[in-house]
Amino acid sequence: MTGSIALSVNGRRHMVEAAPETPLLYVLRDDLGLNGAKFGCGLGQCGACTVVVDGRAVLSCLLPVAALEGRAITTVEGLGTPERPGLLQQAFIAENAAQCGYCIAGMVMRAHALLDRNPDPTEAEIRAAMAGNLCRCGTHRRILAAIRRAASSRKGDRAGTPPPATGAGQGQGQGQGHGAAGATAGRVRS
C-alpha cells in the first residue's frame, strides 16, 4: 500500500507517495531524482548508499522512509553542486579522490558525518570511521587525504586563516606540474 510521507531532504520538504517500508535509497533516486546515493548491495554491507540523517551516517538502502518522517536527510547534493562544490567535495576534487567514483558519494557523506562530530580526527579514527564503506578501485589513500584536507581547511576557516595545503604523500608540493602530490616524476630523456 502506498501512502504519503513527508520527507525533509537537503533542507527541502517533499511529499512522497511510496509504500512506507520503501528504503530511502529508492525514494531519493527514483522519486526525488537525486544521483548521489548509490545502489551497491542493498544489504547494508558496502556503504555506497550512505546519506546523513540528523547528523549521522546511515545506510539508505535499509532505512524505510516511514522511519524518517521529521528527520533531516542530507545527501551529497546537499553539500554542493558540481559547479559549486562544498568544502568536503572540493577536498575530494583536489585530491583526485575518485577512480570510478561509484563509492565516493557514500564516502563523502560518511566523512561529512565524521567531521561534524569530530572535526579533528586522527588517522586511526578516520580509518575506523570509514571501515564500513568499501572501495574496489583502491582509492582509499586519496579519500583519506581528502578527509584530512577537509579537516584542516575547516580548521583554517575557523581560525580565519587560509586552508593549509596538505601534501598527500611525503614531501610533495601542490600544483599541477610534474612531481605534484603523492607522485614524484623524474623526467628521463630517451
Binding site: P20, T22, L43, R56, V58, L59, P64, A66, A67, E69
Partner: protein, 440 residues
C-alpha cells in the same frame, strides 16, 4: 563490666579470626626466573590450541591493542577489573614467572607475588586443568612477543579493592581440584566435560551468580550474564528452537549453524577462537553441552505467526522489518539460496525467543561484523539509524511474530537504557503505515 567483657571477647575472637584469615590470605612470592626453559614447538602448538579453547586473548587483549598485552576492562557488578598483560614482558607482563608461579595462578588464583586474583579470572575453572595442559599453556604464553604494557589499576570501591578479602571468598566458594572423569560416560563426553568445565569455563557466563559474584553451582547452566548481555540457558531452560543437537552445536561453535546462526556479543570471540581448533575438540564440547539439556526436548519449533496490526507499535515495527530486515531475513535462509548467514526464519534465534531482550537490542544497535577478512555473519548496525522508540517497535514486532512467549516486560526502558545515544525520531511513521499487513 559485662559489656566490656563481651566486647573484649568479640575483639579477641575477631583478632584471632583476622590472624587466622591473615594466615589463610598470605601466600609467599615465588622467586622470578630469568627465562623459562625452551619448549618444543609441539608443546607450544598444543598450548596455542588450548589458549584458543580458553579464548584467553578475548579478555587479555584491549580494544585495538596487542594480543595478550592486557588492558581490557572487565565490567563486574562490583566495579571494573582490567585484564592483565600475559605476554612475557619482564616489567609489565609474565616475564620472570616460573611454571610454578603460573600454575599457582591458574589453579589457586594467586599471582607470582602472592596476591589474590579476582575470580573474573576463572581460576575457579582452570583449577581443573591437567599438569600437562597448564605446562603447555605456559609454554605458549611465554613464546609470545613480549609487549610492554602496564595494566591499568582496577576500579573497585572499598571493600572489594582489598584483595586479601578474596581469601574469604575462596573459603566460601572455591574448591581447588583437578577434573575427574565420569567412568559411566564415553571418552568424548569426558573430554567435552573437561574442556567445558575447566578450560572453556562455560559456566562463568552461562550459570547464574550469587550476590558475591560466585557461580551458583546448584543452578549451573541455567543462564547467566556477561557484559550486560544475557547468556542463554544450556539446560532444560533453553528456548532454542529447534533444540540444540551435538551436530548443530558443533557447527555453531566452529562459526555458524544454519538453524541457530552465529554468535554475537561476548560469545563472538569465543566462537572465533574455537573456529581455529581441531574439530574433534569442538565436537567433544558439543557432546557435553548438548547433554546438559534433557534429551528429546521436543515441542520447540520455530514460530512465525500473524501479528496484530491494530497495535500501532507492532504495525510500525512491521514496516521497519519490511524495509530494513526482510531483504536478508525473509530471503529463505542461506541453505535455501538466500542471503548468506541468514536462517530460514528468525524464529530460530534465541535473541528473539529468549526471556530477555538485551541481546536483541545489542545486536540491533551494534550489528554483527566478522573478524577482518574472515567470512562470517554480517549485520549492519542500526544504533545510528533508528531511534530508541523505533528499535522498541521493531523488537516488539519481532517478539510478537517469532516467539511463542508473550511480550518482554520493560522493553522500552531496556532499549532506552542500552541506547542512550540513539538518534531521536521526531515523529512516528505515518498512519497509513500502521494499516499495513505484516509481511508474511
Amino acid at each position: 563490666m559485662r559489656l566490656g567483657r563481651i566486647t573484649g571477647i568479640l575483639v579477641a575472637v575477631a583478632a584471632a579470626g583476622a590472624a587466622a584469615f591473615a594466615v589463610l590470605a598470605w601466600h609467599p612470592a615465588i622467586a622470578p626466573v630469568a627465562a623459562p626453559p625452551p619448549a618444543s614447538p609441539d608443546v607450544i602448538r598444543a598450548g596455542e590450541t588450548l589458549a584458543a579453547l580458553g579464548y584467553c586473548a578475548s579478555c587479555h587483549t584491549a580494544e585495538g591493542g596487542r594480543p595478550y598485552a592486557g588492558g581490557r576492562p572487565i565490567k563486574t557488578s562490583f566495579g571494573t577489573i582490567y585484564a592483565t598483560n600475559i605476554t612475557p614482558d619482564a616489567r609489565t607482563g609474565l616475564g620472570g614467572w616460573s611454571l610454578d608461579a603460573f600454575t599457582r595462578a591458574m589453579r589457586q588464583g594467586i599471582d607470582r607475588e602472592g596476591r589474590h586474583l579476582y575470580p573474573a579470572f576463572p581460576y575457579t575453572h582452570y583449577t581443573g586443568l591437567t599438569d600437562g595442559d597448564v605446562a603447555a599453556l605456559y609454554a605458549f604464553v611465554m613464546s609470545r612477543m613480549p609487549v610492554e604494557a602496564r595494566t591499568p589499576e582496577n576500579d573497585l570501591p572499598f571493600p572489594f579493592s582489598v584483595r586479601a578479602l578474596m581469601a574469604g571468598w575462596n573459603l566460601l566458594f572455591f574448591r581447588e581440584g583437578r577434573f575427574t572423569a565420569d567412568p559411566n560416560r564415553d571418552a568424548i563426553w569426558n573430554r567435552g566435560a573437561y574442556l567445558a568445565e575447566a578450560l572453556s569455563h562455560c559456566g562463568a557466563c552461562h550459570s547464574p551468580r550469587n550476590a558475591l559474584g560466585a557461580e551458583v553451582t546448584a543452578r549451573a547452566y541455567s543462564g547467566g550474564e556477561a557484559d550486560d548481555w544475557w547468556s542463554p540457558a544450556l539446560d532444560a531452560g533453553s528456548t532454542a528452537a529447534p533444540p540444540w543437537t551435538e551436530a548443530s552445536l558443533t557447527r555453531y561453535l566452529a562459526g555458524w549453524d544454519p538453524e541457530h546462526g552465529g554468535a554475537g556479543g561476548p560469545m563472538a570471540p569465543v566462537v572465533a577462537a574455537h573456529g581455529r581448533v581441531p574439530r574433534a575438540e569442538i565436537a567433544a564440547l558439543a557432546r557435553y553441552v548438548a547433554g546438559l539439556a534433557p534429551p528429546g526436548q521436543a515441542g520447540r519449533a520455530p514460530v512465525d505467526r500473524p501479528v496484530r496490526v491494530e497495535d500501532a507499535s507492532l504495525a510500525r515495527g512491521a514496516t521497519i522489518y519490511a524495509g530494513a530486515c526482510a531483504v536478508c531475513h525473509d530471503s529463505g535462509g542461506w541453505a535455501a539460496g538466500g542471503v548468506p548467514y541468514t536462517a530460514p526464519s528468525l524464529g530460530h534465534r534465541t535473541t528473539i525467543t529468549g526471556p530477555d531482550p538485551r541481546n536483541l537490542i545489542h545486536v540491533l544497535r551494534e550489528g554483527i561484523a566478522p573478524a577482518s577478512h574472515a567470512r562470517g555473519p554480517y549485520m549492519p548496525a542500526y544504533g545510528e539509524m533508528l531511534s530508541a522508540d523505533q528499535v522498541t517497535d521493531l523488537a516488539a514486532y519481532l517478539r510478537a511474530r517469532f516467539s511463542p512467549d508473550g511480550p518482554w516486560p520493560d522493553l522500552r526502558e531496556t532499549v532506552h537504557r542500552l541506547m542512550p545515544d540513539a538518534p531521536v525520531g521526531r515523529a512516528g511513521p505515518s498512519t497509513t503505515a500502521s494499516a499495513k499487513e505484516p509481511p508474511r
